[in-house]
Amino acid sequence: MAAITTDETAKEEDGYLGSISGFLSRKWGDITGKIWDGVGNALGPTLDSVGNYIDTKIKGLLDFIFGFVKSNFIGMFGTGDFRNFMDEICDNMHAGLVNAFVGAADAQRIDEENAAPKSAVVAPAEPAYGPR
């Protein structure tokens, strides 16, 4: 494998930052507008409420962004409608991937199997959801 030169490293980092930037504007365009709408709405009551509103929203977003970068997902469950969304986030953020998804049908199956006599139990194989 060829060694990565400084130029190539820089290009790679540019590409990474570019993808992050593009990703953020795609994913967070709406919420940024919402935050400023919220500031406008909160200006009526008190200055404290403005601060609280911004703090909560910004903290939520920062936790979300940096949480993804630093963490490893151990699982995801639900209706399964946001699996592609999460996939794209993980791809763009170079974050830990969600390595398993369990939907309602899977959970039901696991419950049924757990309830069965021990001799009949077959270890449920959780559907892979992660590195592709």
């Binding site: 795609r26 994913k27 967070w28 365009g29 709406d30 919420i31 919402k34 909560t56 929203k57 903290k59 939520g60 977003l61 936790d63 979300f64 949480g67 630093k70 963490s71 490893n72 997902f73 151990i74 699982g75 995801m76 469950f77 639900g78 209706t79 399964g80 409608d81 946001f82 699996r83 592609n84 969304f85 999460m86 830990g96 969600v98 398993a100 369990v102 939907g103 309602a104 049908a105 899977d106 959970a107 039901q108 696991i110 419950d111 049924e112 959780e126």
Partner: protein, 117 residues
């Protein structure tokens, strides 16, 4: 042969959150919870969510409203994510527009529930 009980159990409760909207919950190794959903809770249930309530004994995850109404997710929390959910102090709720972009976010507390026997 599929038993009647299986069909009955497999059906999501009509009052469940999963029956009312697209919703996924992601859990990471830092006990952080992300709730991704496609509809505003107030629009669907007529009230805002106050907190999540996790019942370790049963694996049930309940969405508790500001008026104290408790709605189940609609499926038990999978085993592998239970320890992290039990440790979680808060959950990030993200309203996702068209399954593509984040339209709003909120942080809600996560509490441990006690099962009534």
């Amino acid at each position: 042969m599929i038993s009647f009980n299986f069909l009955k159990k497999n059906k999501r409760p009509e009052s469940s959150v999963m029956a009312a909207m697209a919703i996924d919950i992601a859990v990471n190794d830092k006990a952080q919870i992300w709730v991704l959903h496609d509809r505003n809770f107030h629009d669907v249930f007529g009230e805002h969510i106050a907190h999540l309530e996790y019942h370790p004994q049963t694996g049930d995850l309940m969405f508790v409203s500001e008026n104290g109404m408790s709605r189940p997710l609609g499926m038990p929390v999978p085993e592998r994510t239970r320890p992290e959910i039990e440790k979680a102090a808060q959950a990030h709720f993200f309203l996702i527009r068209d399954k593509k972009a984040i339209a709003d976010c909120e942080i809600k507390p996560v509490r441990l529930g006690v099962n009534k026997t």
